[in-house]
């Protein structure tokens, strides 16, 4: 699907944890898969200048769900918007993925849950069994717990700090029997990807890359990622890549 300029109304806004919120936007006629994202205009002015890429976290009955973490200026301006406000955005962008009918493991770190929430939903709809490991930094950071519990029979919530059991998603992973899974999807900070790469899994592992983008639609070549030795564009060739092919030491 070719990206379009879309003006959509906010139909709902929810605070999910102290620095994460969701926006529900009314926009019809799209065909969306996990991996797709929108480039959101955060201000009517030139500051911030560039749009901000935000993943599709859900799409049902003309309602687009976005889950956003206040990371800086742009997302803070988005946080100031309210139900009824109109948002300008471009999309859908990126390549969406259709989950394979394989035994699936999903690993989310922090805000990485955003696109994976959509993936989990699609896995459920497609009746594909999956486990979800969802790690966060601080106690209370987990979002959408009841929704996740409803769609995921095997949900492992972990917390690095402040909880009784201090573990990361990767600690959990190391103590798991991974032979149970044929395919892995992950989204989280870059450090997590680097660590996952070191773990050398047998099964294919696909990661949702989140980096600073220019245009989001392939025209600026500003979002280089080295894949099997040559630069690809995160926005057009991804954002989902086979982790084994990524060269992080560029």
């Amino acid at each position: 699907m070719k990206p379009k300029l879309i003006r959509a109304y906010i139909t709902a806004k929810k605070q999910l944890n102290p620095d994460t919120f969701s926006l529900e936007l009314k926009t019809s006629g799209l065909r969306l898969q996990p991996g797709h994202f929108f480039e959101i205009r955060t201000s009517d002015t030139y500051d911030p200048y560039l749009n901000r890429p935000i993943s599709v976290a859900g799409y049902q009955r003309s309602r687009l769900l976005l889950i956003i973490r206040k990371a800086g200026r742009g997302t803070t301006l988005l946080h100031e918007k309210n139900t009824g406000d109109r948002i300008l955005m471009l999309g859908p962008m990126g390549k969406g993925i259709i989950p394979k009918k394989k035994r699936t493991l999903v690993i989310a770190g922090g805000i990485g849950i955003a696109p994976l929430y959509f993936l989990a939903h699609n896995l459920t709809v497609g009746k594909i069994p999956f486990s979800l490991i969802y790690g966060v930094r601080n106690h209370g950071d987990h979002i959408l717990i009841s929704e996740l519990k409803r769609i995921c029979s095997d949900l492992i919530l972990v917390c690095e700090r402040g909880a009784k059991k201090k573990v990361t998603a990767l600690d959990v992973l190391k103590n798991m029997d991974l032979a149970k899974y044929d395919i892995i999807y992950a989204c989280g900070p870059k450090a997590m990807f680097v660590e996952l790469q070191r773990m050398k899994f047998d099964q294919p592992i696909y990661v949702f890359c989140e980096d600073f983008l220019g245009c989001g639609c392939g025209i600026c070549i500003g979002c280089a990622i080295k894949i099997k030795g040559t630069y690809k564009r995160i926005c057009i060739d991804g954002p989902v890549f086979n982790l084994k092919e990524i060269d992080f030491n560029v």
Binding site: Y46, D47, Y49, L50, D211, F212, I219, C223, Y231, V250
Partner: protein
């Protein structure tokens, strides 16, 4: 319709080099503009620079793409046939690292396009690039060498960095340039405020540089050749500012990163505005 270098253009809204690839991703946009300036083409393929290649700044951005492109041979074989089908003028942005490079690229392109934009102003490559455009003698040499090898319109793209576009522009016109385009990006850097590391060193573009671009365009407008105004154009008002400063046409750059459909809207509004002013004159 406007006429420059003896050839007609649908309208004076062009697309600047490097922000729209080869115009093939959004053909409906390319088909509407007066001219498309392609991403810079080098003699050999270039992988481009490692990330981060783009960092946002106040009302603009710094890029350090580093002329990633497939090289002139693959361009001619795989891309040019598609580009030729676009319903707009196509100018290829030629980026060399030696005079010889420029000559060879121009020869290989031959006359299969509408014109050439000689890029002696790219700040994001180590050799050549902006250095060629900072010295009137070298800029003139490059222009002269290209001039000898083509009958196409030759536009030289000028840098505003650490040299006077009026001097360089004059030297290039004396050496045979048909027009000038400016400005290319302004030197810029950004640092990580926490670690102190440099994040990027490259070219600044966007609305932030518009006043500087207007100054430069106005400065070279006395030279008597068509000037393509570039720098921070986002609205019809911006277009009119550049035309007022002395540009014959304008090219939109970074704004396309925010909205690839922008040229369509600008062209439409510009028509409405000029129809209104025509009617008012009646």
């Amino acid at each position: 319709m406007i006429k420059l270098f003896g050839i007609p253009f649908k309208n004076p809204i062009f697309i600047a080099s490097g922000v729209f690839g080869f115009g093939l991703d959004f053909k409906e946009v390319s088909n509407k503009v007066g001219a498309l300036f392609t991403k810079g083409i080098t003699l050999k393929p270039r992988p481009g620079n490692p990330p981060p290649r783009i960092v946002e700044t106040a009302a603009g951005l710094i890029n350090w793409v580093g002329l990633e492109n497939p090289g002139v041979d693959i361009f001619c074989r795989d891309i040019l046939p598609k580009v030729k089908k676009l319903k707009c003028r196509v100018f290829v942005n030629v980026a060399g690292f030696s005079i010889n490079d420029f000559e060879k690229i121009v020869e290989k392109l031959a006359d299969r396009i509408d014109g050439l934009e000689i890029n002696v102003s790219c700040p994001n490559v180590k050799e050549g690039g902006v250095l060629f455009g900072q010295d009137p003698k070298i800029a003139a040499q490059v222009t002269g060498a290209v001039r000898k090898r083509t009958r196409l319109p030759v536009i030289v793209k000028l840098t505003p960095n650490f040299c006077d576009p009026l001097l360089i522009g004059k030297a290039c016109i004396d050496a045979g340039a048909d027009g000038l385009s400016l400005i290319n990006t302004v030197f810029g850097q950004a640092y990580n405020a926490h670690t102190g590391e440099r994040i990027i060193s490259g070219g600044l573009s966007g609305p932030a540089i518009k006043p500087f671009a207007l100054f430069c365009v106005n400065r070279v407008s006395v030279l008597g050749v068509p000037v393509i105004g570039i720098g921070g154009i986002e609205t019809v008002a911006d277009v009119r500012e550049f035309l007022s400063a002395g540009a014959s046409a304008v090219a939109i750059g970074s704004a396309l990163l925010r909205d690839p459909y922008l040229p369509i809207r600008i062209i439409r509004e510009l028509k409405v505005v000029s129809n209104i002013s025509k009617n008012e004159k009646l």
